[in-house]
Amino acid sequence: MPATYEKIATITLGSAAASIDFNSIGSGFTDLRLVLIGKPTTNNASFLFRLNSDSSSLYSYTEIYGDGSSAASYRETNINTGKICHAVSSTYPSMGTLDLFSYAGSTFKTSLATDSSDRNGAGGTVRRIVNLYRSTTAISSITLLLDSGDFASGTTATLYGILKA
């Protein structure tokens, strides 16, 4: 019986790095799930992602978020990355998950991100993000990036494959 939920790769940073790469992702699964836990080297950095090393403006997202005092929604269109998490603290780790559906299919790629970034008081954030990558190419690589600073040492990212077969 094939495994339904299977680890593809885990990367734990031994030193700070500007990006984390998952390459040569096979097409043997139905969906992908990424779990990211770590700290940025500067406060208030967003954890982003890029698919197939494609930096063209094919990405967009819509998010709903709360910051502990108010709730709002926001969107970006025609940008060159997707978004997983807004990490508010370089002291406490944040976590994000990204479910990437039908990644090997020939339609545009939709993904759902969950963000959890608390810092014991004002300024934490929690959000849900729907991302769209307007490409029909199967996903074979995922690059994790930030909009400022680096991923701190100890940041861990694990990529799982979900199989419906």
Binding site: E6, V35, I64, S69, P93, T114, R127, G154
Partner: protein, 172 residues
């Protein structure tokens, strides 16, 4: 090949219970997931579920909540608390309706503070609160998580039929 997603423990209540504890959690996994179906006997529409790691009585938890019950979404936070809070269903809502609850706890054995994510939903076909909530939680402790306590903060008990499941996720 090791199993990635494994049931560690479950507790399906056959009588009301003041809290549910998962104890002696082994360090054999990478992440933990709690899935639960919850209702409290508090005489109101909502209950506050408190999730506490490695026992209660401390001030090392905190949380940021985003929630709505059909009105405008709202957000609030708690600092230096004894647990991570989220609204769940209580006894004045439609009978037999339970909150669906999921909590993800990554890297629960790693020596660092522990972030966690909660998603909780209730629908009861009524105007009384039907909370849908997501929570960013934090436990500021470097110890491995070995127990989790789920307590109804405002009421007395989780009612019969509430169910709690703890899973381990392994990246080995």
């Amino acid at each position: 090949m090791p199993t990635t997603y494994t049931l560690i423990s479950s507790n399906v209540l056959t009588s009301s219970q003041a809290s549910v504890t998962f104890s002696a959690i082994p360090a054999d996994y990478t992440d933990l997931v709690i899935r639960a179906s919850i209702r409290s006997d508090r005489g109101a529409a909502n209950e506050v579920l408190y999730v506490s790691f490695n026992g209660t009585g401390g001030t090392s938890h905190s949380y940021t909540v985003l929630q709505t019950n059909s009105g405008s979404p709202q957000s609030y936070n708690g600092a230096n608390t004894d647990g991570i809070a989220v609204n769940v269903n209580a006894s004045t809502t439609t009978s037999d309706t339970f909150t669906s609850f999921e909590q993800y706890i990554p890297s629960y054995t790693v020596s660092q503070s522990k972030p966690t994510s909660i998603f909780s939903t209730t629908e009861n076909n009524a105007a009384t609160p039907n909370w849908i909530a997501t929570v960013a939680g934090l436990w500021r402790n470097n110890s491995a998580i070995t127990s989790v306590v789920l307590t109804p903060l405002l009421g007395s008990n989780w009612v019969t039929g509430s169910s709690f499941y703890l899973y381990g996720i392994s990246n080995a």
